[in-house]
């Protein structure tokens, strides 16, 4: 079943239009990867979906039109975003970061606490630093925290904006393994934006190629890497 569907998604900053009518789909339980170079519009796509910039076109989530919803309503509907460049709250403790992640939840403190414990199990390094300020964590730890924080809202769809940026390859691999596990075990759908084609292609169910705000190719990872011209021009391997 389709979880997220955009039709003619258009967005930009002030007078500059960055996205020119994207048609994207993410089905339940899928990992979808958007690949593209710098300036292709990847981050803008993420922002447009999460409602943090003005946008036109339709965005449907679980069959409901959310393209006019405010960011908080979109989080409530079940879309959580891990923004580019960590997006943690540096002055807050690790534990408070997780609590903020559960801001939209109305269920009791007990369940939220239990969830936090669960993510501490998944990311044991965060557990060790739970009372430290998030700003004092390393880049990889902050990225883990940002993901854990996003998961605290119990999303159905996780938007991840270049989680590999600025991280050592080993740590990136570890992160991607966690995402894959969550996808397999919990059925979490993931929409991932990446420049690092090689790594992301491995776990993707489907891939979109983005160039200057337009989708230039889409299909399963295998289909795209089978096409020689696409592989050479966009995937670089």
């Amino acid at each position: 079943m389709t979880l997220l569907r955009t039709r003619g998604l258009t967005a930009g900053y002030g007078p500059v239009t960055v996205l020119h009518g994207l048609d994207l789909e993410v089905a339940e339980g899928e990992i979808v990867v958007i690949l593209g170079a710098n300036g292709a519009g990847k981050t803008t796509t993420m922002r447009a979906i999460s409602g943090t910039i003005p946008r036109a076109g339709s965005v449907e989530f679980e069959g409901h039109d959310v393209h006019k919803s405010a960011p908080d309503a979109i989080v409530r509907a079940g879309i959580a975003q891990v923004p580019q460049g960590r997006g943690t709250f540096p002055e807050l403790s690790v534990e408070d970061n997780l609590k903020v992640g559960a801001f939209v939840r109305r269920d009791g403190g007990g369940k939220i606490g239990a969830d936090a414990l669960r993510w501490f199990e998944v990311f044991p390094r965060l557990a060790e630093r739970r009372s430290q300020r998030a700003g004092s964590l390393s880049g990889g730890e902050q990225q883990m925290l940002a993901i854990a924080r996003a998961l605290m809202s119990r999303p159905k769809l996780l938007l991840c904006d270049e989680p590999s940026m600025g991280l050592a390859p080993l740590i990136t691999q570890e992160l991607f393994q966690v995402l894959e596990r969550l996808n397999k075990e919990e059925g979490l759908s993931v929409l991932l934006v990446e420049q690092n084609a090689n790594l992301a292609m491995h776990m993707a169910d489907r891939v979109y190629l983005l160039e200057t705000g337009r989708i230039v190719a889409s299909g399963s990872a295998a289909e795209l890497s089978a096409d020689d011209s696409i592989r050479k021009a966009y995937l670089g391997f």
Partner: protein
């Protein structure tokens, strides 16, 4: 946007326009002191005082992007240097101007030292502290032998007597007898010259290489430092220069009024705020902004000064202000200031630049003559990363 005329910068039409503006200004400058009423001359001289102070602040804030809420202190340094030297040591008033200039420069450079380390809102507060402390310092008992304490100092200006009725420049006397009311045009000219001097210094700095590095500091000081702009020295000199220029109108006010006290409005923080709002209303980061701002400010205050009785208020405004016995000038100017921030954060000059294009477009010369028109203290809202 379509415009009625298009002219080339540096072309004949552009020069004709400049000449026309200069001619109008020159005519005004001759007409006011010779034919204008005494009160008009007074108002203009006060406006000159504010112009010079706002111009000096503009160099610091509009171009270097460093905020100062303490310029009233530099103004006061001018006032008190002149007052003390004239009354205690018998100097001729005009000879104290260079001393005030240098003294304020030194104090300005000293103040800029902590400012190198302290930034943003903290710097604003440090300069505010300077503005707050200055009048208290003047009133300090330990210094009252010099500054006259809270009572202030009298006879700080010229004493034109029967034997000494005028001020001659190397034996040349263009003003005639300066006793009584005749003295007003004289101060008008002094004020005009001070504004001209301050304007020329600002212009010289802004158009020079230093001026460009200033803009670099304003837009991004970290980046400027990386590019090799010597921050501490440039910032220090600009701060000092700005302070020094602000002392000149301060001296003038001591010479003109003949009495000084530490609680005079322009010597307190209220003065700093006045300079600041004048500069902003006119247009921060443009050379003409503070001049226009001061003229508008003085015009509003003067025009509405008598609006304390309903009968004195023009019919159009009576319903809004007739209920109060307080002159509405301050309130009107505050409203104008706020409204201006909504439509044009770069002040009246910015407003003119936005809309004058419809009337007349000036095409810049092809290369190397880009004018500075953006103020970084007001960075565009869209400076988010466009990376995607």
């Amino acid at each position: 946007m379509k415009s009625l005329f298009t002219i080339k910068s540096g072309g004949a039409a552009s020069w004709a326009m400049r000449l026309a503006v200069a001619a109008v200004l020159a005519a005004l400058m001759l007409w006011v002191p010779t034919r204008g009423s005494d009160s008009l001359i007074e108002v203009c001289t006060t406006a000159f005082t504010l112009m010079a102070a706002a111009l000096s602040l503009n160099l610091l804030l509009g171009y270097a992007g460093q905020i100062s809420l303490g310029h009233s202190a530099f103004f006061g340094i001018g006032t008190y240097t002149t007052a003390v030297m004239v009354t205690r040591w018998g100097w001729s008033p005009f000879h104290t101007l260079p001393v005030a200039f240098v003294l304020a420069f030194v104090v300005g450079v000293l103040v800029s030292l902590p400012a190198l380390r302290i930034k943003g809102v903290y710097l604003a507060l440090v300069t505010l502290a300077l503005g707050m402390v200055f009048p208290q310092f003047i009133k300090w008992k330990k210094l009252s032998w010099l500054t006259g304490g809270a009572k202030g100092i009298n006879d700080t200006g010229f004493k034109f007597t029967k034997d000494n009725p005028t001020y001659e420049i190397f034996g040349w006397n263009p003003w005639g007898n300066l006793r009584g009311q005749n003295v007003k045009p004289f101060y008008f000219w002094v004020g005009a010259i001070i504004v001209l001097v301050v304007y020329l210094i600002c212009r010289g700095v802004v158009k020079s290489r230093v001026g460009r590095s200033l803009v670099a500091i304003r837009d991004n000081s970290t980046a400027a430092a990386v590019m090799g702009v010597n921050l501490p020295v440039t910032k220090g000199i600009v701060f000092g220069l700005s302070a020094a220029m602000c002392a000149l109108p301060g001296s003038l006010s001591a010479i003109r009024t003949g009495t000084v006290t530490a609680d005079t409005q322009l010597l307190t923080v209220a003065g700093s705020i006045t300079f600041l709002v004048i500069m902003v209303v006119g247009g921060a980061g443009s050379l003409w902004g503070p001049i226009i701002g001061a003229a508008v400010y003085q015009f509003i205050i003067e025009r509405t000064g008598g609006w304390t009785e309903p009968d004195a208020i023009p019919a159009l405004f009576r319903p809004f202000f007739g209920w109060s016995k307080t002159a509405p000038g301050g309130g009107l100017f505050a409203i104008a200031l706020i409204l201006l921030m909504f439509v044009a954060p770069l002040g009246l000059v910015g407003l003119w630049r936005q809309h004058s294009v419809r009337l007349c477009r000036v095409v810049p010369k092809p290369a190397g003559t880009t004018t500075i028109s953006v103020m970084a203290a007001a960075p565009a809202a869209v400076d988010e990363t466009h990376t995607a």
